[in-house]
């Protein structure tokens, strides 16, 4: 507990997180002034909490890959693939009667996560063993997973699922807390434990900082990479399973907009795309900020939803420019920094 508090207090010291908190508070004040009755309601917070887990989970996976110095653009492909396969399995298990028990739901979820694991493992192999730059490896595998999903379904939606599944996963605990949020919270806790308290976490950050030095330190860097992409695959799979419940159907093209949105979230959350740096709390905060921004804007019928990307991109750029001014105030020696900011993104140097 003491450590937890210390963690939080160091996190708040992180300038990125501070900024996101400020943005969130400002936006909440703004909403309080202009749309209090439409925003500060239980149902609104419940809705928001039920909406973000599906893409939030994908963003967490992308975050892990970015800490390793890579990226995973295939998360949406994995999620839909998992949702479709699990949906089909659900229908088989439930049979004509549409009956389903808790154990069977668990089984289907494990099945989905296993697929996600396999897909992530595949990405990991491409990145670590075949050494394809992550951005391209996962772009290719996105097409691949989406292609498989289309082949599996002929492009049609998998629907007519036993309603029990959606009721369970997209339901509310004690009629209050969205179950999706519980999944998200559980993954956040597990990942933050992994990152902060286990050897895997240290190895991941070290790998992202300097892959060569990690190898010279006796780390099995390829294995760490594979583990990372596999974890991302599992996160995406959970996202897919939640989507399956939220829409009570699955299709190869659900959530195509999530990819870019997740990358934006992760970067805004302060994760360095060159690897080695980033906190889970930043990412979670960025997810919340995005959700509040877009739900908030939807409270203004006169503002077109097209302003959401405008706001979103604007916030990202603003935060980056502010960071520049802060860092520049700290050190005038711009050129040592230039070496570091030499932009080697998403690329793993071989060896």
């Amino acid at each position: 507990m003491k450590l937890q508090i210390k963690n939080i207090s160091t996190a708040i010291k992180d300038i990125h997180i501070k900024r996101l908190l400020v943005i969130m508070v400002l936006w909440m004040i703004f909403m309080g002034i202009f749309r209090f009755d439409k925003f500060y309601t239980l149902i609104n917070f419940q809705t928001m909490a039920a909406q973000f887990p599906e893409f939030g989970l994908m963003a967490l996976g992308i975050m892990l890959c970015m800490i390793s110095g890579g990226i995973d653009l295939s998360v949406v492909g994995v999620a839909n693939f998992v949702a479709i396969a699990s949906g089909q399995l659900l229908k088989i298990i439930a049979g004509g009667a549409g009956e389903l028990n808790g154990f069977e739901i668990l089984l289907v979820m494990l099945f989905g996560m296993a697929i996600g694991l396999a897909a992530g493992f595949f990405n990991g192999i491409l990145v670590s063993k075949v050494k394809i730059p992550p951005i391209l490896a996962t772009l290719g595998s996105y097409e691949l997973f989406r292609g498989i999903a289309i082949i599996l379904t002929g492009g049609k939606a998998v629907s007519g699922l036993p309603i029990k599944y959606a009721e369970t996963i997209a339901g509310k605990l004690f009629g209050l807390i969205p179950v999706q949020l519980l999944f998200f919270a559980a993954v956040v806790l597990i990942l933050s434990y992994l990152l902060n308290r286990t050897t895997y976490g240290i190895k991941l950050y070290m790998l992202g900082t300097n892959a060569t030095a990690a190898m010279f330190s006796g780390h099995r860097t390829e294995r760490v990479l594979i583990q990372t992409y596999a974890l991302s695959g599992i996160c995406a799979a959970l996202g897919g399973l939640i989507m399956l419940a939220n829409y009570n159907s699955a299709r190869a093209d659900y959530g195509a907009v999530y990819t870019l949105q997740c990358v934006l979230i992760v970067v805004l959350g302060g994760v360095n795309p060159m690897g080695g740096k980033g906190r889970i709390s930043g990412t979670v905060l960025a997810i919340c900020v995005l959700q509040m921004l877009s739900s908030g804007i939807n409270r203004f019928p006169e503002i077109s939803s097209f302003y959401i990307p405008l706001f979103w991109g604007g916030v990202l750029l603003l935060v980056m420019v502010l960071n520049y001014y802060r860092e520049n105030k700290q050190s005038q020696g711009g050129h040592k920094k230039a070496v570091i900011s030499k932009y080697r993104i998403w690329v793993r140097k071989s060896g």
Binding site: L73, L126, V130, K131, I132, P133, I135, L136, A137, L139, G140, S141, Y142, E143, L144, F145, R146, G147, I148, I150, I151, G154, G155, L260, V263, L264, V267, P273, M274, S304, F306, Y307, I308, P309, L310, F311, W312, G313, G314, L316, L317, M320, V321, Y324, G334, H335, K337, A338, V339, S341, K342, Y343, R344, I345, W346, V347, K349, S350, G351
Partner: protein, 341 residues
């Protein structure tokens, strides 16, 4: 002779060329349609827009960055251009639209340029952000919708033909658009700039080592700033040409092209770490991807399998070139940074 062979074998362009030839033969065998004059013309005309984008993306990657904002930038600038001209009932030729879109492109590119050069922010993050902002401006502020009737000067430029290729067997004809000249001209300009000006060498230099470039006396700020302005202009031109060729302006249908364009450039042997890559490789890589994307039916890949096929193609293509590179590195012993004497 032997040395030339050996030299060739070490070059990425060589493998891409082989892949292109192999694919052509495969398409020919499957459809009997590849080596017909009109099919070649079709491919060249399909190459215009991705080719222009690829030139811009290539220069940015050479300089050590990655730009993902060019489709949004092109969309915004082509939309603004077309909207203004349609609203003012413009009846003139193609010159004004081109000038206008180049101006818009330069301005939007300058936004990227300032953020990247002045604030020294990572290009990927900046362009992710500006791409969102450009999209938001286009759709939110400008309220973009499809424009179906474009000024006559633009549509006549878009449909004008350099020549028409006729397939003697099927009687099918294909138009070689005049707009192809734009690709050729930009290609020549980019070639000239990269190979024959200090500016272009500066791009390679900062891609290789930015600090050294600064110390050597390159004006790094200016090089980067002008780069993004130039890329903005090229992308805008591509956007405008697309509008002219389609004779309608659709605000969003270029979005999402960025990854495929970048994939083509990298497939052509351009190091995504910056500093190395040839224009030939870049164009060959782009041609290869355009060929694949536009020949799936000719190849007889069923619609349901097309996504799968494309994914496999990218992974296998990239995989081979990645393995090739790491093999070359191993052979040179670069892993241990061994000295060659």
């Amino acid at each position: 002779m032997n040395r030339i062979m050996k030299n060739l074998m070490q070059r990425n362009e060589f493998y891409i060329s082989i892949a292109i030839v192999a694919l052509s033969i495969a398409i020919q065998l499957r459809s009997g349609q590849f080596f017909t004059s009109n099919n070649i013309v079709d491919l060249l005309s399909a190459l215009i827009v991705p080719g222009l984008f690829a030139l811009g993306a290539f220069m940015v990657i050479v300089s050590g960055g990655v730009d993902v904002s060019f489709p949004a930038l092109a969309s915004l600038s082509m939309y603004a251009t077309t909207r203004i001209l349609v609203d003012t009932n413009y009846q003139g030729g193609i010159l004004l639209p081109i000038v206008m879109s180049l101006c818009f492109g330069a301005i939007l590119g300058a936004v990227n340029g300032v953020l990247i050069a002045t604030f020294k922010l990572p290009p990927l993050i900046v362009t992710l952000g500006t791409s969102s902002v450009f999209k938001g401006i286009m759709q939110g502020v400008l309220n973009a919708v499809q424009i179906t009737v474009i000024p006559p000067g633009m549509s006549s430029f878009g449909t004008a033909a350099l020549f028409i290729a006729t397939n003697p067997q099927s009687g099918l004809t294909s138009r070689m658009p005049v707009a192809f000249l734009a690709l050729v001209i930009v290609l020549l300009i980019v070639y000239f700039v990269l190979q024959h000006t200090m500016y272009g060498r500066g791009l390679y230099a900062i891609g290789g080592n930015e600090v050294s470039a600064y110390r050597a006396g390159f004006n790094v700020w200016l090089i980067k700033f002008l780069l993004y302005v130039g890329v903005g202009m090229i992308s805008s031109l591509a956007g405008l040409i697309r509008v002219c060729m389609m004779t309608q302006a659709h605000p969003t249908n270029m979005l999402g092209m960025e990854m495929m364009v970048i994939a083509g450039v990298v497939l052509g042997g351009t190091a995504i770490t910056g500093g190395s890559g040839t224009l030939t490789g870049c164009m060959l890589g782009t041609i290869l991807l355009v060929m694949v994307e536009n020949s799936l039916i000719l190849l007889g890949v069923p619609t349901f399998w097309q996504g799968f096929f494309l994914g496999v193609f990218i992974i296998v293509g990239m995989g081979i070139s990645a393995l090739q590179v790491s093999r070359a590195i191993k052979a040179r012993g670069a892993l241990t940074r061994r000295v060659q004497q």
